[in-house]
């Protein structure tokens, strides 16, 4: 079986600083790969090279039989990769419905002209958020006025609402309440069972062990090792994270 996604020898240099190098890994269909690592290890940088935000300094990414590297963020999203970014990347002046559909807005024709279906998108947003356990008091308000967790839920909703083949999640539960965190973990299970590949970044060890099929540990920009959860334990993972630092 060819992997759904394979990253080969990824390197990213910012000015004089090599943030990431020699990162190679695969993700299969229905598999959840966790990228673990200490702060500044390079996790977000790696996933941005996959989703098309950064062009790798070296290395390349293949997905679903095609080459991704060099393609635009647009093309990569169309190819079937959705991403939840650590900084959420929301349009703060728009409501949750428009944020959910950003780039793929629903329209309705009136006299042959397309009009945005704002209410419909808003309703969908309310529903998707509800399924994550989140209620927003005023769904017509811009997301600027939402709480930290509400904002994160909107970013999650945006990624899971589409039939993606691979979903990348950069610390998706960091701002979520306890029940919402559980919802997201359950969601990951459901997506896996539908054959969706997942790359999850998390600092929460219980979550990592619960969700991961494989754990790839980054330390100071390089892969420090790869483990299956059944083969390892908290302590070893933490030691690997620190590994290169010592």
């Amino acid at each position: 079986m060819t992997p759904l996604l394979s990253a080969k020898g990824l390197k990213k240099r910012f000015g004089g600083n090599e943030a990431v190098k020699d990162v190679t890994f695969d993700v299969n269909e229905g598999e959840c790969v966790v990228l673990a690592g200490d702060n500044g290890a390079g996790k977000s940088t790696v996933i941005k090279m996959i989703s098309g935000v950064y062009t790798p300094t070296e290395g390349e990414v293949h997905f679903d039989g095609g080459r991704l590297t060099g393609k635009s963020a647009e093309a990569i999203r169309t190819a079937g990769i959705e991403t939840i970014y650590q900084d959420l990347a929301l349009a703060d002046n728009l409501d949750p419905g428009l944020n959910l559909y950003l780039g793929r807005e629903k329209t309705r024709r009136i006299l042959g002209l397309p009009f945005l279906a704002r209410e419909e998108m808003r309703r969908d947003a309310v529903n998707v958020l509800q399924s994550l356990g989140i209620v927003v008091p005023d769904p017509t308000a811009p997301v600027r006025e939402m709480s930290g967790g509400q904002r994160q839920a909107i970013a999650i909703a945006r990624a899971i609402h589409w039939q993606a083949k691979l979903v990348i999640m950069d610390e998706p539960t960091a701002a979520l309440g306890v029940p919402e965190q559980r919802e997201v973990m359950a969601l990951i299970e459901r997506m896996k069972s539908k054959g969706v590949g997942i790359i999850l970044i998390s600092h929460n060890l219980p979550d990592i062990f619960a969700a991961a099929d494989r754990i790839i540990v980054l330390a100071r920009g390089v892969v420090a090792g790869e483990r299956r959860p059944s083969e390892t334990n908290d302590e070893e993972i933490v030691r690997m994270m620190m590994g290169a630092t010592l």
Partner: protein, 332 residues
């Protein structure tokens, strides 16, 4: 219905404040006129037509600019895109002579708009692909469009004799001057664009957070190019109307109204940092400016005091707008 509860209903109600302010100053001038001259200010077709024509000339620069400013950019070059397209149109008409008829005038309009589009494409290319900040990029094309307009015109103005062109600039249909109808049509199209289409949503998102649209898979470069072309296009239409109104294409046609156009956009609620502003707001802004210019002359205030008064009214227009936020406790 569901979205018309709570804040949103309140909001749409409050957005009426700029209208209210406009009505207020109209009321003020009317009262003044009645008391001072015994004549009505407002209820004369002539006054309404004059104000509307002046507003529409400002508006044609301001409409495209609104989109650009909502997206967090600026377009200074429209000051001379207007003149460039006015001159080009006049040259085409002059080339074919006064007997050209409608066909030639339509050709001239087309060529004039093409000239404007070229400026827009250059702006878009500079900003989107070369990453030149829009202020500087469009200041550059401001100079270029100015120089080229003067060069092709062989001087500052190209006068023409064409009844058809004159009709476009000065004709009246059912009481509505043609320039006003054209500006209204463009305003409706742009209002539709900004509030009801994907393109509009992306424009707002672009102004708030470029990354949000980029990562959502929108082709931001293409979007920017379209924005600057639209801006050049409306400025170009302004130039064509100018040529029609004054029977001459003037390279300087747009320059003196640039500042008013920018002011209309900001009075209409836009912000330097982008992500805010509406076409309706800009329309009200342009009308407010046209009304006070007309009203102050009408009221006979000495010219230097008019500068002071215009300044005050502009500030008060926005303070009124601010106080609505304070009244409803939106700010902290």
């Amino acid at each position: 219905m569901s979205e018309n509860n709570g804040t949103s209903f309140l909001k749409s109600l409050l957005n009426a404040w700029s209208w209210l302010f406009l009505i207020l100053i109209l009321g003020f001038f009317e009262l003044y006129a009645q008391m001072e001259t015994g004549n009505t200010f407002l209820f004369r077709v002539y006054t309404l037509q004059s104000i509307a024509v002046a507003a529409s000339q400002i508006l044609l620069l301001a409409l495209g600019l609104t989109l650009v400013i909502v997206a967090g950019h600026i377009d200074l070059s429209i000051a001379f895109t207007t003149g460039f397209s006015a001159v080009v149109m006049a040259l085409v008409i002059r080339f074919f002579g006064p007997e050209g008829g409608w066909l030639i005038v339509i050709l001239a309009l087309g060529v004039g708009l093409l000239a404007a589009i070229v400026v827009g494409l250059i702006n878009g290319w500079l900003v989107a692909f070369i990453n030149v900040p829009s202020f500087i990029g469009t200041l550059g094309t401001y100079g270029i469009a100015r120089g080229v307009a003067l060069i092709v015109a062989g001087g500052a103005t190209v006068s023409i004799r064409s009844d058809e062109a004159r009709e476009i600039g000065n004709g009246i249909i059912l009481g509505f001057p043609i320039p006003v109808l054209i500006a209204a049509a463009v305003a409706i199209v742009f209002s539709y664009l900004l509030t009801h289409t994907k393109f509009g949503v992306h424009t707002y998102a672009l102004g708030a957070n470029r990354a949000s649209v980029e990562r959502a898979g929108v082709d931001v470069k293409k979007h920017l190019v379209i924005l600057f072309v639209l801006s050049a296009l409306t400025a170009g239409i302004g130039g064509l109307i100018y040529t029609g109104r004054f029977s001459a294409g003037a390279a300087n046609a747009g320059e003196p109204i640039l500042l008013y156009a920018v002011a209309a956009v900001f009075i209409g609620g836009a912000s330097l940092t982008g992500g805010q502003g509406t076409v309706v707001g800009t329309v009200i802004g342009a009308i407010i400016i046209a009304v006070i210019q007309f009203g102050l002359v009408f009221s006979g205030l000495p010219p230097y005091w008019q500068f002071v008064a215009v300044g005050l009214v502009i500030i008060v227009a926005v303070v009124v707008d601010q106080s609505r936020d304070r009244l409803t406790g939106v700010s902290s």
